[in-house]
Subunit: 305 residues, 2 copies
């Protein structure tokens, strides 16, 4: 799947992933109203609104980008109905040829990580049958438990040819509280980065590993260091745009081959119609605003074509 | 909710939480067969088997214990159908008067943690209505993101009078890889413990904080140290029994008031009928075996009544 991701990045010339993190406040009022008319002002109504919103955005941008990253929390907040919308979104995006990175940040003791891995990347056996649960292509993983909490995910990746992005340095303001603590003369995130590189060696694709890393755009110097520590690790970069990360901040996240990083934008793309620079679109043409925001983001990151 | 948990621990004289982590391999064959007859060898069939298994165990033990801890991964592995069984289990346990600790180990940047908090502890607004998603009483939280990833959970706890157990030192063999790293002259888990104590001060119940901690039974010396660092933090103790933690290992997790810790057992209780000492029950009386295992666990931890 890492080979396929790289191929799609090269084809689209867009190292961009669109974060499908639909807060209800991003969903234009006409979509909310229609969903509520059909399903009531209920969890099912909210989930329907989110799903219709996602679908319109995916239809507007799928030919420009290699991948999407639905953040499961934004669906989980609506309970079962929300998770049905998550699954519909995963399936629809895959049908449109997009690679789906499930932003689920799971991680636990071995037997529990194995269950998460089965549910999100692999399959479970029921009697004499096997079934995929959520069936994303990649997922994000929290490393706090260490190797035996990560390896069950790797086992399933090996079997299914799927991939991981493991949290190394997160984009939020207080990420340094634990991640920046000095251990053995270097910050903890460097140790985590070394481990990710080691884990990754066991699961190599053609140029890069199936085991990737998450490094926030909001800490550019850290990104440069981690790029060197993990040379064959693909870096998923959150924090660009709405969280403050800029194009010049992320140039060092890429390798000399022009590969090695994929930059996420969520709000900046899916709620583009709310940004002053896309005012002219208005809520009625929200998906066109998202498409233009992808074009502009690509130009911002890579320069004018 | 921490006050209610303590009250129920004192009433039941059992600082015990039963982990409802139903691997399909734990579910007796007669329950699986019945479920598959009704719903097929499908995800829905597996979820039905899990639900019927949980229900029988809860019916057999609810009067002996204060709380249960369903591990959401074991449900999530069956996709949407599994999560429906999770929700049914949460609701049923609450109806039986049990406190429900959702073992979900979520944690993310602030806005995302807020969505998880809304979905698992609080409610979401849809139009002019509000709805609870999964509605557990406590949840477990991963601290890797630092304060701004934890605070949104605390905000919802304050509003809903619910609680958290934050990972400090986990029970798995490789937990030390990152958690034991020395920072400023002490292991990282002590720093995390200090933070948990600080966070907890902002959200105090009568005797203990609404913000608890997870400390594995498999590291008894660590438990003793963390007990001192976090005097008013309730400790959720996984790793007793099947993972190797023994009664003498966990005595130091309690305070002198006899409170301060609640010990989890999952496999050891729910799959008791598979243990040689409960052979006489057999799969047909699996729930009776679970009841006896709770009685025995209480005696093991507290001594004969």
């Amino acid at each position: 799947m890492i080979n396929k991701l790289i191929e799609k990045i090269e084809q689209s010339k867009a190292p961009i992933v669109v974060g499908l993190d639909p807060m209800l406040s991003y969903v234009p009022i006409q979509i909310q109203e229609k969903a509520y008319q059909e399903k009531g002002e209920t969890l099912a109504g909210a989930a329907e609104a989110v799903w219709q919103f996602n679908k319109a955005i995916v239809d507007a941008v799928y030919d420009l980008i290699p991948a999407v990253k639905p953040q499961i929390a934004m669906y989980e907040q609506f309970g079962i109905e929300g998770l049905i919308a998550f699954k519909k979104t995963v399936d629809y995006c895959k049908k449109k040829g997009l690679i789906v990175i499930g932003d689920i940040k799971r991680g636990d003791i071995g037997s529990t990580s194995a269950a998460y891995a089965a549910g999100h990347l692999g399959k479970v056996k029921v009697g004499s049958n096997s079934f995929y649960g959520f069936d994303e292509d990649f997922i994000t993983v929290n490393p706090y438990f260490g190797s035996d909490g990560v390896e069950p995910f790797m086992d399933v990746c090996k079997e299914e040819k799927k991939g991981l992005f493991i949290l190394v340095k997160t984009s939020n303001p207080s990420s340094g509280e634990f991640q920046d603590q000095p251990v053995g003369g270097r910050p903890l995130y460097e140790l985590v980065g070394e481990k990710v590189a080691q884990w990754g060696e066991k699961l190599m694709g053609d140029k890069y590993s199936y085991v990737g890393a998450v490094v926030g755009a909001t800490y550019p110097k850290v990104g440069k260091t981690l790029r060197e520590i993990m040379p064959r690790t693909y870096i998923l970069v959150p924090g660009y745009g709405a969280q403050g990360g800029k194009a010049e901040d992320i140039s060092h996240y890429f390798n000399k081959d022009g590969l090695g990083a994929i930059v996420n934008s969520s709000r900046g793309i899916i709620a583009a119609y709310k940004r002053t620079e896309y005012d002219k679109y208005g809520p009625g043409a929200f998906a066109d605003a998202s498409r233009q925001a992808v074009v502009d983001m690509r130009e911002d990151i890579l320069g004018k074509p």
